[in-house]
Symmetry: C2
Subunit: 291 residues, 2 copies
DNA sequence: TATTTATGATAAGAGATGATTATGAAACGG
DNA sequence: CCGTTTCATAATCATCTCTTATCATAAATA
């Protein structure tokens, strides 16, 4: 029995949470036979059955449920203690990070570098998508930690501000030389639920300029290219277009909006895993330079 | 880090308690290189040093001490939970049992059989010695659970009654036919600190008989042989000499003393190990037949 | 009902892990 | 200076654990 390790308990917990061996295998980045074997190991060590076949699924027996319930807090505490004393240098596992594209450009590289430096055993799986979809993935458990722009408020999500960026109105050189917003211009931004979209509408209203049309593209780099090639104007984080402005491909055509783009890190409000909680805590140290 | 198992924590704990890898190896019934390897495994998994060389010993680093202190209660709790849900069927390890010789004859076989039936993973190391020495071994940690005769009271020891046996005055057939205690007889018993010795003195006083001499032998079976061969009289548990009485080798030469021989199980008052505590709890069910 | 899909079990082979024995190096004690 | 104690290291072996591939069964679907 002494051979039961932390990963055995972790495995049982994820089977209980997800309902199938297969799902637990995917969550733990291993194979289904490995999960079966781990369960069998624990059952053999304890001499009792933890799961019972039911249809094509496995369900916890009464004792299995008892084991999960009584061990989970102890396991979590033990893992926490082990991680604490090693300053998380001993952390291992896969953390699934989600990010909006703008947040990715601003926050992700520094964060990933810090994790790789301080927690060599942790691997990361990064997925970029729109903020709205990111939150969905976070709530369903497909992501553990997401970075996103704009304020998010939900009772099921815990957020933390990690900095803000100045915005700038930019257009291609030709458009700028033609007078910029002297005449209504096509305006490009990310699709509607995006915070950049909201910032763009606010800026239009605040600065009293007219858009000839509102267009969207779900990829910021492509959006920059469209604007740089004369497609119109866009509101973008200044740091993301600083290079293009310096090189003259893009020109700032209006004063910078007062409103800044605020970034946040988010996790599930009910998150228990020490590693995720610690990484969330560490996002506070990112300190984005507003540009 | 997820590969850290219960036996890793157990190993660290015993090193901390005993001070050397070698001692921990002996306590855990393995070899010293195995202990070194376990320590190295934990250190590698956590990425920190737990021990520092000091002379020819290894001492805990600050973090090592922190780890032991913070993990030990969690580890104990986890082990307890795992054992509880399996009704201790998953228990494993070595339990060191001590016993006085009389207690061994009365209690040990049933107890050992019960442990082997209910906890197939547990192995036992039994040592017989005098009661006084047994208590010493218990307090120094050389034994985990001892069976002994006679009431024992010590703040450092926790005891539990497990039954009592009637005593009988016996002598060899020849001595009995010569009148028994009509004349003072040589009396044989265990050495002085033994409870049988006390019972013998009480019985002498209570029944108003005189001993020609008080002799002792530290081995009950030998003592029986001495008495059976005409060496004198002895006070012994009736069940231990029932066979000899039936066969006529020994004869009861006085009424049975009122005082019975009480047996107790004992563990250290500060005992923490779930397995030892459980075995101690189960000694209550031994129910010695008083004969 | 027949077919497809989902879920686990099982087997074989490779690699990692952990234990043992034997031996070496360093510190301590006389 | 020599013997003892303590831990490290190396070689070897057994066991454990993972992966891949395949099979069996149950549920869903056509």
């Amino acid at each position: 029995m002494k051979r039961i390790a932390l990963y055995h308990l972790e495995t049982l917990t994820w089977i209980a949470r997800l309902g199938t061996f297969q799902a637990a295998a995917e969550r733990l980045h291993t194979t289904q036979p490995a999960i079966s074997a781990r369960v069998r190991e624990v059952e053999d060590q304890l001499g009792i059955a933890l799961f019972r076949r039911e249809g094509r699924r496995m369900v916890l027996t009464a004792r299995g449920r008892l084991l999960i319930d009584s061990c989970e807090p102890l396991w979590t505490g033990l893992e926490q203690a082990l991680l604490d004393i090693s300053d998380f240098a001993g952390a291992s596992g896969m953390i699934r990070i989600g990010s909006g594209e703008i947040a990715a450009a601003s926050c992700l590289p520094a964060f990933i570098q810090a994790v790789e430096r301080d927690m060599p055993g942790v691997s990361m799986e990064v997925e970029l998508d729109l903020t709205a979809r990111m939150l969905q993935l976070l709530l369903t458990g497909a992501r553990d930690l997401v970075f996103l722009a704009g304020p998010v408020a939900s009772p099921n999500i815990r957020t933390q501000p990690i900095g803000a960026l100045h915005l700038a109105w930019v257009a291609g050189r030709a458009v700028a030389q033609a007078g910029g917003f002297a005449r209504p211009l096509p305006v490009w931004s990310l699709p509607d639920p995006s915070p950049i979209h909201g910032a763009m509408r606010d800026a239009l209203a605040q600065q009293g300029v007219a858009a000839r049309s509102i267009n969207s593209c779900n990829n910021v780099r492509t959006l920059v290219e469209i604007v740089a090639n004369g497609g119109g104007a866009a509101v973008l984080p200044e740091t993301m277009v600083r290079g293009e402005i310096a090189s003259g491909r893009l020109v700032e055509i209006l004063p910078r909006p007062d409103r800044m783009l605020h970034f946040e890190a988010a996790i599930r409000a009910r998150e228990q895993e020490p590693l995720v909680l610690e990484l969330f805590r560490r996002t506070a140290g990112l300190q984005i330079d507003p540009g």
